[in-house]
């Protein structure tokens, strides 16, 4: 009899602990969902992805193409924008709420897949770019410095995929001004631009 009482007490205790632990998490999950929901509905911009500017960096053309294509892919996945247009797309002229994503390469370390496989600690491929979301008139709305690396496994081109994912993540997490508000007030001053480095 005593044994059964102990078991029932234990069950009740476990149930209490479980509910107390689960409830706050559920609430926080709801909050997160609602916050992400507001961020995705707030932005009704379309974005046009410009070709990657290699700057002074001797970046292989295949890397430039890979960054560009990965950016188009990853920005589409964020669902933050109404449309993701490519560089040179004639439809961009008809869209009023259009942002232009400019990407310029700042730093590049080529790395080697074989060195990574042999040494583990060296041979990383590193890419650093500056991404700018600009309005039509050229005013910068958002600016980020983003890295994309391959340190252990994978080919060198994987750095471009990681980079594009980080750029898309940075844009998704940032708050963009309302398109209609922005249209009436031209663009944000350059003083208001926040530069954040993601490492």
């Amino acid at each position: 009899m005593k044994g059964s009482n102990r078991v029932s007490l234990l069950v009740v205790a476990v149930a209490v602990v479980t509910t107390s632990v689960a409830h706050p998490r559920q609430l926080s999950a709801e909050n997160a969902a609602s916050s992400s929901g507001t961020s995705s509905t707030a932005g009704q911009w379309s974005v046009q992805v410009d070709k990657v500017d290699p700057g002074d960096v001797a970046l292989a053309p295949s890397f430039q193409i890979a960054i560009y294509e990965s950016l188009v892919d990853e920005l589409g996945k964020t669902k933050r924008f109404k449309q993701v247009l490519r560089d040179g797309d004639r439809n961009a002229g008809d869209i009023s709420d259009l942002l232009i994503l400019k990407t310029s390469v700042q730093k590049y370390s080529a790395g080697s897949e074989t060195r990574r496989a042999v040494t583990t600690v060296s041979g990383a491929t590193k890419l650093t770019v500056r991404s700018q979301l600009c309005a039509r008139d050229g005013h910068i709305i958002l600016e980020r410095t983003v890295n994309g690396n391959v340190r252990f496994m994978g080919s060198n081109l994987r750095a471009t995929h990681n980079l594009a994912r980080n750029v898309a993540k940075a844009i998704k997490q940032s708050s963009l001004p309302d398109p209609s508000h922005s249209a009436s007030h031209a663009a944000i001053d350059s003083d208001q631009v926040v530069v954040v480095e993601l490492r």
């Binding site: 002074d56 294509e69 897949e113 042999v118 080919s155």
Partner: protein, 188 residues
């Protein structure tokens, strides 16, 4: 005695048969290059689609070919993905060295004791050519695609594409080899 007669009778027949066979094989050998010289054979190369073509999966193996005025990529048993050669704006060649064997090989190397996998990695790599294309769609939107080909095949394919009307900028003529030096951009 009988045996001798039979063998002498067979010998000329065998000789004749072998002569006919030899003539046939020589004729067949002589004919095949002549045929290929007269009719233009479509270029067809096995390669890996790294990225770019919309309906083809990344890192998919398949056949890259030139059919008429289009560059096609076909994964075995999948519909063909194609781009008009006239829409190609630029072609870039490159080289890269990759570890062979993919994930199974990597896991296998990790399982080798005493760091033996690292020693295997030293030799388990292969050099490939990369062929990067820039082309435009019907709306004028820029697209890029990258293919990995066996060494020496990218240049042949590029020449074929150029002959069929693809555009190539002067800067794209030199194959780019990856260096390990870190190159910071200044003044940005």
């Amino acid at each position: 005695m009988n045996r001798r007669i039979i063998s002498t009778r067979l010998k000329p027949d065998l000789f004749l048969v072998s002569l006919v066979l030899l003539w046939c094989s020589v004729a067949a050998l002589a004919q095949s290059p002549g045929q290929s010289a007269n009719s233009p054979t479509p270029v067809s190369i096995r390669g890996t689609h790294l990225l770019g073509f919309e309906n083809a999966k990344n890192n998919a193996n398949g056949t890259l070919s030139i059919e008429g005025d289009a560059l096609q990529f076909q994964k075995d048993g999948k519909p063909t993905e194609q781009v008009k050669i006239a829409s190609v704006q630029d072609i870039f060649l490159g080289e890269q060295s990759k570890q062979v064997g993919g994930t199974p090989m990597t896991l296998g190397k990790a399982a080798v004791p005493f760091g033996g996998g690292r020693a295997i990695s030293l030799f388990a790599h292969k050099k490939y050519d990369t062929l990067a294309l820039e082309y435009v769609d019907s709306n004028g939107g820029m697209h890029g695609a990258i293919f990995q080909l066996n060494k020496g095949q990218a240049e042949a394919l590029r020449n074929e594409l150029v002959a069929k009307g693809a555009r190539v900028s002067e800067s794209a003529n030199e194959p780019v080899k990856q260096s390990n030096a870190e190159v910071p951009s200044e003044g940005k």
